[in-house]
């Protein structure tokens, strides 16, 4: 008769449990969603995000309750506007909101994926929109906070193919203060029906115009320090 030689798994597991039990109490068992977004991690980081941004959200009633939508926000360079807009809108709508533009290199890329980041790849955006997700993309970064840069029409094309609405999202934040604002505008509807790629190019231009109008309506720079705001207007 063969004899079964058993590795002392139970003893090893008991020892492991004793070692990792404190970690488990801090970090409970959970999982990520279909795209790798981790609501638990986002919840844990929310207080730190609030230390940096105190976001006021408006116009969220424009967003669909269940279906997917592409949200296009303006971006001042290095402001991480799509990140704080996605986090704030997610909190207000109670739905996961994903942002586009995470790098694909560790450790930043995987960390941003846990926060809801997607690659700036039209196929990736199309897949998420077809899955009824809310996805935030950024217009090209500008140096002036009230200028809307060009909107990447390749990514808007994903919304056209998926047949989901596109919304402009005007964002404003300060480099020194915590105050930030996220305003969702009404859906941008294409002026003309196009069958080819002109549909996305024209829609992207329209979104940029809408964004610029919304930013103009915001008024001047809001740093919280009046003289600086006044100087920045010049």
């Amino acid at each position: 008769m063969a004899q079964l030689i058993e590795f002392p798994i139970k003893a090893a597991t008991r020892a492991g449990n004793a070692l990792t039990e404190p970690l488990r109490s801090i970090w409970p068992i959970h999982s990520v969603d279909d795209y790798g977004r981790d609501p638990h991690l986002i919840g844990a980081l929310a207080p730190f995000a609030r230390l940096r941004w105190d976001v006021t959200v408006g116009g969220d009633h424009h967003l669909p309750a269940r279906t997917g939508a592409l949200l296009v926000c303006n971006s001042r360079r290095f402001s991480l506007s799509s990140v704080y807009a996605a986090l704030a809108l997610s909190e207000v709508t109670g739905r996961p909101v994903r942002f586009v533009g995470r790098p694909d290199i560790a450790p930043v890329g995987p960390f941003m994926r846990r926060l809801g980041g997607l690659l700036a790849n039209p196929n990736e955006v199309l897949g998420a929109l077809r899955h009824h997700e809310l996805v935030v993309i950024s217009a090209e970064g500008t140096s002036h906070p009230r200028n809307a840069g060009a909107v990447p029409h390749e990514l808007v094309g994903s919304a056209v193919v998926a047949g989901v609405p596109v919304f402009p999202v005007a964002t404003m934040s300060s480099t020194v203060g915590r105050a930030a604002r996220v305003e969702v505008g009404p859906q941008v509807r294409p002026r003309r029906k196009r069958r080819g790629p002109l549909a996305e190019v024209e829609l992207a231009e329209q979104v940029q115009h809408h964004l610029q109008r919304m930013l103009d309506g915001f008024g001047g720079v809001q740093t919280g320090v009046a003289p600086i705001d006044w100087l920045a207007e010049g």
Partner: protein, 314 residues
Amino acid sequence: MGGELGSLVAAKLEAEPWVGALVGIDVDPPRRRLHKAEFHLLQPSQRERIVDVVTKFNPHVVINLSVWEPDARTGLAHARQFTADATTAIIGAAAECPALESMVVRSGIEVYGREHQAPTRPDETAPLHPTSEYGRMLADIERQARDVGRRVGIAVGKLRLAPVLGKHVPSPLGRLLRQPLVPYSMLADAPFAVIEDGDAARAFVAAAERRLDEPVNVVAPGAITTLQAIMRGKRVPLPLVGPEWWVAARLSHVLGAPIPDHVVELMHRGRLADGSKAQHALGFSPRLTTPEVIDHLYAWESVVRIGSINEAVA
């Protein structure tokens, strides 16, 4: 038909009213009691015999599950050889059958690859850029099946399975996750999805019944990272950053749980796929989510002891 997945598919096919006769070929005998099926114990290298058995039976549907995942039942070199031999023999034999209407082949989401800037959650339209040896093996099976399908004018369904985990399924990922000490990539800890073997078997039966003629991802909903899986299984996580992976992989090999390149890739870069097409293409949705499959993985006994044999009965 001798592997766990093959036996499961055969058992489910036997219960289907549309299935008349059933013939299976494998290197191992079936692991379940089969009532209707006829089984042939053949090696992948016995091409003449395989062709003979298949052409004599002249089936309407061929399901090719003969895929050896590296380090599941055998090492990489043998896995590559057996898979190539079996694919050539089965697909080649199927092409000689005049009654054949459809062929369903096993593939995997490893075919999409995980190169930089590859989609996080590719659907079936994503280009195939396998970046692991297993992925290249599967892409080759798909290519051969597609070529034969075009040549003889039959439907070819390709089921791209997420890593299959099940009670008796030999899987390097499952084996690694059940070790007492499990390494994970501290900098990435990427998410992945899996599929339970019973769900995978149901997908094959549905694909055969519907004469599937396209690729379909078969993925359990949800995702999990390696660290989360380790915590669920109450194992000890071993955080690794880079070069020590080589040492960990060798050590794990010595301890009986080799880590092939596609599993290392899964841990570093993740392995997700969009499985929504299965619902309308196959009328199939997995019963278990990815976290549930992982929970089941840890619920299995390491050693199942059979009670003392009753001599009066024996």
